[in-house]
Symmetry: C2
Subunit: 491 residues, 2 copies
């Protein structure tokens, strides 16, 4: 496996009679001979190369990065084995990071924090408004997210010497990337929704205020369109749908839902504005999956049994809890197929936690969005649901969703359960892959040719698919045979 | 002819329905399609690309540089044809520069100034001492030469808009390059005389304080060894000896003498510490070739006739004047073959300007150095003087030297006069070539393999060649048949 970031130890002869090649050229030649490729050495390192060479008496360790050619990032006297990178997923709500040992691939530490931009707005639209034609607003948002990254790196700096951090990999959606790089977002907001950049590739981390050391490079996962970013690109890398003959479906569920259908020859991407409902956001008693959130509900003998994160007194209900709750309400006949409560306009789970008819209506729209996207994309490509080889689910939420419950409410399709593959945080995993494997960069480049992006909101027929999906599990019950059987058994 | 620095006008469609590729990727794709090569776009340009694109409504002009791949340097709205570069020869005494129109190759302006480092020391050794293990001294020397370059650019800025200056080409010897880049010179001073860098290639001019605009790139001619720098490399590019079957000799005469012998298969380089005598430096009444300097002397009817630069009252004698004077003294029997004055210990040319025996002795050592280097290199390679195809003379001094006089005193070999080729300032010419022709970069890279560097001072037998050359024209008069004939005719 060819590495992207790595260290190369060199033991060289000291200059001597008849051998007075310059220090920099000496190091370059040695590296080029060993690596069989061109090595670029920046001006800032000239003096350091000489000093470390002399200090190590000809023994030095070079920190390198490969991007079409080799780039010398830094040099240290003697032999230094330590070599690290940090992978970061910048979600609009949560930032997740992993500290990686580049020699072994091992995750040495991980960290999560809330994206501080939430202060400006929970909703990404609020943040975009804050930055719209407003450099001060952009600067503020950039500093907030850069500050989050610096805090995470500061935590990691207790485990490693930051001098040995070579790379930082970023997976994020297009808007988050623009806010991180302090780029205008005006053109993303208005039709034809054009970003400033889709594929930044490698930049110097210090250039955007992430000055953990003077040389660390940041790699940013490319995006496809304004609303298909690192999450889907991560899905490509982490699922194997891009190399299979059979057609698969990929869905990343977070604040946004990003989807992909395809195989080794073609990939169709789309994004749906899922809204915050999936993460518990828009519910009256909704909350994110944290201490105090009900994340699992069962209805037995006329009573709700539930699990609370942290085993404390429940404060609210999170996305996975809501999916399970709606499924239980439906299966046990407490809501009808249109998602309407049979009795009253709210249901209490505990004394304080309840859901309202309005909550359910919001959630129905969100789940309908996911369902409609799947159906619309399959029909556009003339593929039957039964022909899908795999149904990949990514995203932090995806890991904890009860698949049966999600099928019951028509959020996931009713297909054989062994076709579901839970991928976890593909954005983070892909960022890590790009930090480690040169082949991954090649794959991404090759795949880009096969990608088509569909703007669902601009597709005329899409609205009808949405309407049909506003039932539990769907207008057409025959699409959900296992759910039909389950309801019939229950009632 | 493939260009190194150039402008590329683009007319692009504005983003529209179904065509929302990001601005940066849009420009990159267009350029890559037109140029058939990869284009690298730095982070600093992302926002500017969007703004200029919008301003020009899809019409922009890109400033590009080629170095294995294309690098976008800047972008301007609309069509901008102007495209300039500056070639600079940094001599230890004089800095010469030319402003070049990159579209036509035309020289629009030229400028010369004294290298301000002369304040620290006329002699390069003094400057090296000033910078030796002394960062403050290095900083000072760097600021002096950078200041000279900035003054020259300031002068050129009256002719062009500096926004359209893309490249700056530098030809200089190894020490001058180190002082320009503010690099340590300690290792050049002590055996085995190892520079920090031989081949810096392209760097950002702003990185060394030449901030004429934010993006202009500086190209520095590579050097071979500690004392074989851009002058010889320039000689390679400007003479055609590197592509001929026949063997030629190249000599660059300035404060230092740099030499090269070879043909298309091999090149042997050497440097001799010529010392300041050639430029009039070490003579009691010596001076550089400027107003008031005697640059031409004839001895007729027992009297000196002379020419003074600027036709003013003579103040001193410069290098070309000294060569002519010594030749006249010798031909007319006023000095003997050992260079000793027949009568007294000084000779007056005017009331105030004279030369002393000591001056002649100094000069004899310098001219012996040049002579010995030629002989030693020829004998080392087993080549007869008569087999030389061309004798290339470079350097500002070389342009004005009277060839007959230089042969009379044994500074140049006594070969058919049509073999002499006066090249002028090869360092400046090569810097210009590297700014304009991609092929020149390839040639330099290819030729580097054929180059051998010889440290004359470390060659055991060299001292004997020096001793034999301490005669006028040489111990062995048979090597100088035309001079022998001339003396016999005269006496």
């Amino acid at each position: 496996m060819a590495k992207v970031f790595f260290k190369q130890y060199l033991k060289m002869k000291l200059p001597g009679q008849g051998d007075n090649i310059a220090y920099v050229d000496r190091v370059r030649e040695k590296l080029e001979n060993l690596l069989h490729g061109r090595v670029e050495i920046p001006f800032e390192l000239y003096e350091k190369i000489y000093k470390e060479f002399e200090k190590g008496k000809g023994e030095v360790t070079c920190s390198l990065m490969y991007d079409e050619k080799y780039h010398l990032l830094s040099i240290q006297a003697g032999r230094v084995e330590e070599c690290y990178a940090v992978a970061i997923d910048i979600g609009s709500t949560t930032i997740s990071a992993e500290l990686i040992d580049l020699n072994t691939g091992e995750v040495l530490d991980s960290a999560n924090c809330t994206n501080s931009q939430v202060k400006i707005g929970e909703d990404v639209l609020h943040r975009m408004f804050h930055a719209f034609n407003n450099k001060a607003g952009r600067d503020e948002l950039q500093k907030l997210v850069a500050g989050d990254i610096l805090s995470i790196l500061d935590r990691f700096s207790k485990k490693i010497d930051m001098e040995n951090l070579l790379g930082i990999g970023i997976g994020a959606n297009t808007v988050m990337v623009h806010l991180l790089l302090n780029l205008p977002i005006e053109t993303i907001c208005r039709v034809p929704k054009t970003p400033i950049i889709n594929a930044p590739g490698f930049i110097k981390a210090a250039d955007i205020g992430i000055n953990v050391n003077s040389f660390a490079r940041m790699y940013i996962l490319p995006s496809i369109g304004s609303y298909v970013g690192g999450d889907v690109v991560g899905g490509i890398l982490i699922s194997d749908m891009w190399k299979k003959e059979e057609v698969s479906f990929f869905i990343d569920i977070g604040t946004n839902a990003e989807m992909m259908l395809g195989n080794k020859d073609w990939l169709l991407c789309a994004a749906g504005a899922a809204g915050p409902a999936f993460e518990g956001g828009s519910l009256e008693k909704g909350m994110r999956a944290m201490e105090g959130a009900i994340d699992e509900v069962r209805y037995e003998d006329g009573k709700f049994k539930f699990h609370v994160i942290g085993d404390v007194k429940p404060i609210g209900i999170c996305g996975t809890g809501m999916i399970k709750l709606l499924s239980e309400l439906f299966i046990h006949g407490l809501v009808d197929r249109r998602g309407k409560l049979i009795n009253g306009d709210r249901i209490f789970i505990t004394e304080d936690v309840y859901i309202t008819q309005n909550d359910i209506d919001n959630f129905m729209r969100t789940k309908a969005g996911a369902n409609a996207a799947v159906s619309y994309m399959l029909e556009t490509m003339n593929i039957n649901l039964s022909d899908l080889d795999k149904f990949y689910v990514a995203g932090a939420l995806g890991e904890y969703i009860d698949i049966e419950a999600a099928i019951n409410i028509g959020m996931y399709p009713d297909i054989p359960r062994d076709k579901f593959v839970i991928l976890g945080n593909t954005s983070l995993k892909a960022a890590k892959k790009m930090l480690m494997e040169r082949e991954a960069h090649k794959v991404l480049k090759d795949i880009k040719e096969n990608l088509t992006y569909m703007e669902l909101g601009e597709e005329e027929g899409y609205i009808h698919y949405l309407e049909k999906a506003l039932f539990l599990p769907h207008t057409d019950l025959s699409l959900y045979p296992s759910v039909e059987k389950r309801i019939n058994l229950k009632r």
